[in-house]
Symmetry: C2
Subunit: 491 residues, 2 copies
Amino acid sequence: MGFRVVCCKTGFYTCYIDTIKILFFNFLSLRKGMDHIKKYIDENRDRFVQELFGLIRIPSISSEADHKEDMVRAAEYWRKSLREAGCDHVEIFPTEGNPIVYGEKIIDPALPTILVYGHYDVMPVDPLELWESGPFRPEVRDGKIFARGADDDKGQAFMHAKAFELMMRTDSLPCNAKFMIEGEEEVGSMNIGAFCLENKERLKADIILVSDTSMIGLDCPSITVGLRGLAYMQVEVTGPDHDLHSGIFGGAVANPANVLTKLVAALTDSEGKITIPGFYDDALIISKEERDEMAKAPFDETSYKERIDVAALFGEAGYSTKERTGIRPTLDVNGIWSGYIGEGTKTILPSKAYAKISMRLVPNQDYRKISELFENHFKSMAPDYVKVKVESLHGGQAYVSPIDTIGYQAASKAIETVLGKKPIPVRSGGSIPIIPQFEEILGIKTILLGFGLEGDAIHSPNENYPLENFLKGIETIPYFYAYFTDMWKSK
Amino acid sequence: MGFRVVCCKTGFYTCYIDTIKILFFNFLSLRKGMDHIKKYIDENRDRFVQELFGLIRIPSISSEADHKEDMVRAAEYWRKSLREAGCDHVEIFPTEGNPIVYGEKIIDPALPTILVYGHYDVMPVDPLELWESGPFRPEVRDGKIFARGADDDKGQAFMHAKAFELMMRTDSLPCNAKFMIEGEEEVGSMNIGAFCLENKERLKADIILVSDTSMIGLDCPSITVGLRGLAYMQVEVTGPDHDLHSGIFGGAVANPANVLTKLVAALTDSEGKITIPGFYDDALIISKEERDEMAKAPFDETSYKERIDVAALFGEAGYSTKERTGIRPTLDVNGIWSGYIGEGTKTILPSKAYAKISMRLVPNQDYRKISELFENHFKSMAPDYVKVKVESLHGGQAYVSPIDTIGYQAASKAIETVLGKKPIPVRSGGSIPIIPQFEEILGIKTILLGFGLEGDAIHSPNENYPLENFLKGIETIPYFYAYFTDMWKSK
């Protein structure tokens, strides 16, 4: 089957397909032959959820050292799941950090290969007191699974295990499948790069498929085609070498907490612009035409504000909300701490003050260069009465996925088949630093087939994932395999 | 014995005594008759220290609710100590907060009465990891007692119990003694004011004696004649109603931690001046003559900086280090916190950001007015995309003790007798909010007979109190009683 995609914008928006009829017939016939998908899901949905709960119950927080054993337990859980789902070969690869689970099912080397990437590690859970149910005690309320990792990324990655099981059990796997599930995504994927380098042959594939992003909604599906990069820094400001009495020394000795507020405050101006010299130099400027296209995506500011309970929005002057998260870089304090933070009062002049500050980056901004610009600027602003340490905690490049590929087209068709609407391509404000690395190291493009929602509170208390999204995800994936294989054969 | 004190400055510095000869003879005769003091201390010093350790081992942190029972235990310890030392009547008075221990020994209503004030509560101990030995496991290293409360104020207040015991056991108590030991000094002495109001008659005295301040050193003794006031505030800035993913929302929603840094940074300018409108309006301006006198007190900037390991000092432009802590108000962040403060990274846009900010005040600055100015200014600066809450946690007025009183003269003589040098009157940067209240409610002046050192790390990890200061304090107190009684009789 020959078809040609003509894209009106680089990596963006509506495409024109000139072999629409051929595809239409193909689409109908595929739809007809896929009734087993819904049936299998209906018969097994409760088990799918219970198996996901088993994974969620393992508190695999990668940023906290005392969860080291939980990382191994979560990897083992994935090994067992992939083997039971039908992988021929499953192996846990140790790394310098947390292990990587690899599994594969090669049905015919002449067929295309889909490499699924996901992660079994999760974010920390504080503030714990804001959770309505235990972060590692998953439960379904109002049709949603509540737990840390329910969406990001246990729930979403596990859809692939179950969809693969479905194809194996119904004898409908149309191509080869590989799985690579890591345990360090939330801390910067420090070791998967080396793993990819050492396993280039093993990881050979035609497309990487990842469910770790969100869509606008099941009634307004979208596919993420852009991810922001990330430069995550930690700063430490030291005044005196121990906490001092704020009465005896206050006024005469610089307070590092006061100094830190001045340094951090000076990183942005009153218009929301980042003041680090050179910060914007390389940032990709999006054309007016593209911005006009983006503006067409549905956005309801009132409900957006209501959902997070803020009276007004604030961001970089001259850009819309969607632009501020989609095409512009940011600088956010993710954490700040100094001195006495307990109940009541303590009259100290603290010795040290810290902040975790991350910047989301757009295409062409190199995170290494930005981290260096940040460090130099922060240090240059620091007065001589304090000592300043700046550390880069992790980083990653921005990513743009073109939509004129069979990978994107297969994803679009699969979603349209299951949800009844053609998805719109959108840029997400989030970052998955490993995605651009995959392309660099393995030379493979990634499709971000995300079923999360913006309201899923990932990284926050009460993270959740609608059960329907979990099940629709499982339903969509086999269509992706089928369309992708068909299109690959017709290339 | 008649004598006259002519003071060259209001409440400050060198005095001329025209009956020097009479005093000299009296001084010698007193010195001679006081050999029992040193003897008793030598014979009992180990027991004194062990008894103090017993008090220190009770973790009576008044700002932390789960130490409620420890407050009662500490009060009981004081009751027992005062009874065993020789008080006729000892009683624990419940308050709405922590109990107040009262004890007295009335030998003759016609004689003067000294009312000793102290506190059994201590500051919190975090950061715990910086302590070299347990904060509530007192031990002597390098001649110093290391523990929370070793100086402030268990060690210093306990000197009075032991000096009183000494006078009772050696039959040398020259006047009446009263004790009032509270458990809320570190959290603003909320209930002792009401206690004083209800017990005016019981608390009648000629002077209040307090050891809760420091001196320059045993080789350069000083007496604190000024204390700063305090206004302690807590601010809370709320952005979204829950933590958000900093990728998905970053750039479009104001980050309350970023906003907090801007608000706090704006409270002071680059010259160390506080920018709250009206803040300095009532602050007492010290004359050039007084500042010139103050400048004569010894101060070694190099060793001051070395002791706290800072390369440079910073404070309000136009004032010396001693002036910045002694006669000028300040604004210090005592604590700040928001978002993720654990190990590693977490990419959130926090919901809330907090800071504890206290201002040390100088005479004539009313802490209630300053708290209000702070609150109004902070709220007025807050942009509409965040919610701001401002709370006053506690406050107290500044205090100045004149030196042309028999109380000050007796203290000066007692120190000179024991340490061999006339103490210099100094203004401390610290605050003891109850001291000005005593004068207001009871009409009694306070003498601050402090034996702490600036290096004692009070309120900090590794708080300590030199054993020698503890023992010299016990030795000095009976001289104060004797001189004060003599001078009172000669009035």
